[in-house]
Amino acid sequence: MRITRVLSTTLLAFGLAAAPAAADSTPSASPSEDGSAPTTAGTSFRTATEVDQGRTATASGSAGDYLYWSFPADAGQRPTVTAKVKLPEEHAGQTWQVDVYDGLRRRQACQYGAQTRTAASGTASLELACVLRTVRAWSEPWADDPLPGTYYVRLTALGLKTADLGLPVGAELRVDSKDMGGAAAVDGSLAEPLVPGIAVKSSAEDEGEDGDGDDSSASAVLSSIEPDDGWSSGWWTDRWVWTGIGGVLAALAGIGGYALTRGPGRPRQVPPGA
């Protein structure tokens, strides 16, 4: 009987040790630097340049331009947008701001990060950052929680002096995200991610299947962006691991408790074969 007890304690200890390990084994977004990072930026929501997470997009523009990019964010991610602005050699004090909008063009709040920054005259560059809230798989329609889909970034100068208007500036944008794991796994899910124009796109695809629509060539869509490994189905979360391990541990504890009170084996008084 001692063996059973020892075994159960070891199993318990093992289970407890294994649970957090399983919980923390989150797939880290590998920054893949290849040549496909865009070198331009759009000038409106409609023309926003699509950037994948983990890539550094560059763009040259003029002070006063509104530079737009879009990136995909999936459930469980907490995206961080960092923008770097290279200012011209001579300029007056300038304030720059980065704004993030979701797929419904609702402005999204930044939890941390310098969203607005002023560069004193003569400063060569400035850096802006915005850490968004964690993207949830579902929220009530009355909330403006971040949902999986397209996100827009707008970078612009606020309150420019006329002398600075139109001066050449360079911009860099990078989006990375932290995987928040099962702590952010909520119930419910959207049928389609919050990608603008997705209804039009899917109906066009349906037509294509019927064989009467051939608009594959350069047909413009509002947003064709998708994460590298597709939108998550929302089925897997590490809560399965936690709950499963919890069940196993409960069973083991149950056996332990039973063994403790029931005593070892059959009662001594009971004759064998009874």
């Binding site: 409106s44 979701d102 124009g197 809560r239 149950g254 408790g257 029931r262």
Partner: protein, 419 residues
């Protein structure tokens, strides 16, 4: 003498333009692929001031010519490119004549690089700077077709043809709703010119750039031409009504409209049960606005009950204010008819006295009707648990259950023994 030379040069330019025009009739855009080809009209200032030698040691005109040559080489195949000049032909002092001086140097159409370059080579800095009339004509050049349209204005001086304000002209062009963008480039600009050119750009959602070097000019024009070549969704023009009853019914798609200060715009969307409506609205600030503004979009039932709203407010310099909403309609068992959802859009932009209030600001509306979400029945995913408290609670519960079971079986054995 100089005068006759200039006249001759102007005549040459005209001739070149005419021959080019004959060789490539602008009306040759018939088949479907060219109907949605992107169109770009380069509008070049050839006024007398372009003679100034302050760009990389050469004259502004030389810089412009060099830039044009490189741009013409790099223009993507699908782009229909045209060139229009302003102030190229009339060297005299009469403002009235000088301000009509704008000519099509190369018509908007399939590009013959050699012809276009030859035409550009004939240009000599000559006359006035009639930006307003040139923009109007340039917009006419781009008429027709469904592709994106872009005017790139390169100028080195502010408009000399008052009272026609080129900024007003730009706004009028934008108000036609043909989706035309005007980008402006100022060569060695002064303060007044910066203001004027950036006003033109902002009125149409374009960009303004100051240029001091030839290379910058080439890069920027190339960038703008390439930008025109990017396929972009063309919105469908619609007109919202002032009440839901009269509102147009919209399907999934991208729409444009105009909304004046303090105006309400209503649209209707038919929503089947089990579907979700997603609407996002942006209203652009295409004129000088007061720095505090807002936007409200509401989804309202046919009976006037508000379902959900999207709000946005902001302050400071902006190009656009936008917000959106989504409304999932619950699934119903019987074949319920589609619900009419009214979408109301109001803005709280304001402008100083003297700023034109009509036409309204450009409004962009995206409507998507998709399948409804699967509703959450619990906060956590599938109601699953997570964390040390959960493990502790489960272990404790399991242990207690085990103890109880142990006691029970002991008690049963004891009962069995006594019997």
């Amino acid at each position: 003498m100089i005068r006759t030379q200039r006249l001759a040069a102007g005549f040459c330019a005209l001739l070149a333009a005419l021959t080019a025009g004959l060789a490539f009739p602008a009306g040759a855009v018939a088949d479907e692929t060219t109907a949605n080809a992107p169109k770009v009209n380069l509008v070049l200032d050839v006024s007398g001031s372009m003679r100034a030698k302050d760009i990389d040691g050469g004259s502004r005109m030389a810089a412009a010519k060099q830039a044009f040559n490189e741009v013409l080489d790099a223009t993507p195949e699908e782009v229909r490119l045209g060139i229009r000049t302003l102030g190229a032909n009339y060297p005299g002092d009469d403002q009235k004549t000088g301000c009509k001086d704008t000519a099509q140097l190369y018509p908007v159409g399939p590009l013959d690089r050699t012809e276009a370059k030859a035409a550009v080579a004939t240009l000599t800095p000559t006359g006035w700077t009639p930006i307003g009339p040139a923009l109007l004509k340039a917009a006419e050049d781009l008429d027709g077709g469904t592709g994106s349209k872009r005017i790139v204005l390169i100028s080195d001086g502010e408009d000399t043809c008052a009272p026609l304000d080129p900024c007003e002209v730009a706004r009028e062009i934008a108000a036609k709703g043909i989706g035309l963008t005007i980008d402006t480039l100022g060569l060695v600009p002064n303060v007044k010119m910066r203001q004027q050119l950036s006003c033109i750009a902002e009125a149409t959602g374009g960009t303004y750039t100051s240029v001091e070097h030839t290379e910058e000019l080439t890069d920027k024009v190339n960038q703008l031409v390439d930008r025109a070549a990017d396929p972009v969704v063309t919105p469908v023009a619609t007109q919202g009504a002032d009440s839901c009853a009269k509102a147009p019914t919209l399907k999934s798609g991208l729409y444009t409209d105009r909304e004046e200060f303090g105006q309400e715009r209503w649209y209707r969307v038919d929503l089947d049960p089990g579907k979700e409506l997603r609407a996002s609205v942006s209203v652009s600030a295409d004129r000088a606005m007061n720095p505090d503004y807002g936007l409200l979009v509401r989804a309202v039932t046919a009976h006037g009950r508000e379902i959900v709203r999207g709000e946005a407010a902001g302050n400071g310099r902006t190009d656009v204010i936008s917000t959106g909403l989504r409304y999932p309609k619950a699934e119903s068992d019987d074949d319920a008819p589609a619900e009419t959802v009214c979408v109301q859009v109001t803005n709280s932009y304001s402008a100083a006295a003297g700023v034109k209030t009509t036409p309204g600001m450009p409004l962009e509306l995206t409507v998507d009707v998709v399948d409804g979400p699967s509703q959450a029945s619990d906060v956590a995913s599938f109601g699953l648990g997570r964390g040390w408290w959960l493990l502790g609670a489960l272990v404790l519960a399991g242990f207690l259950a085990g103890v109880l079971w142990g006691w029970l079986s002991r008690w049963r054995v004891a009962v069995w023994r006594t019997n």
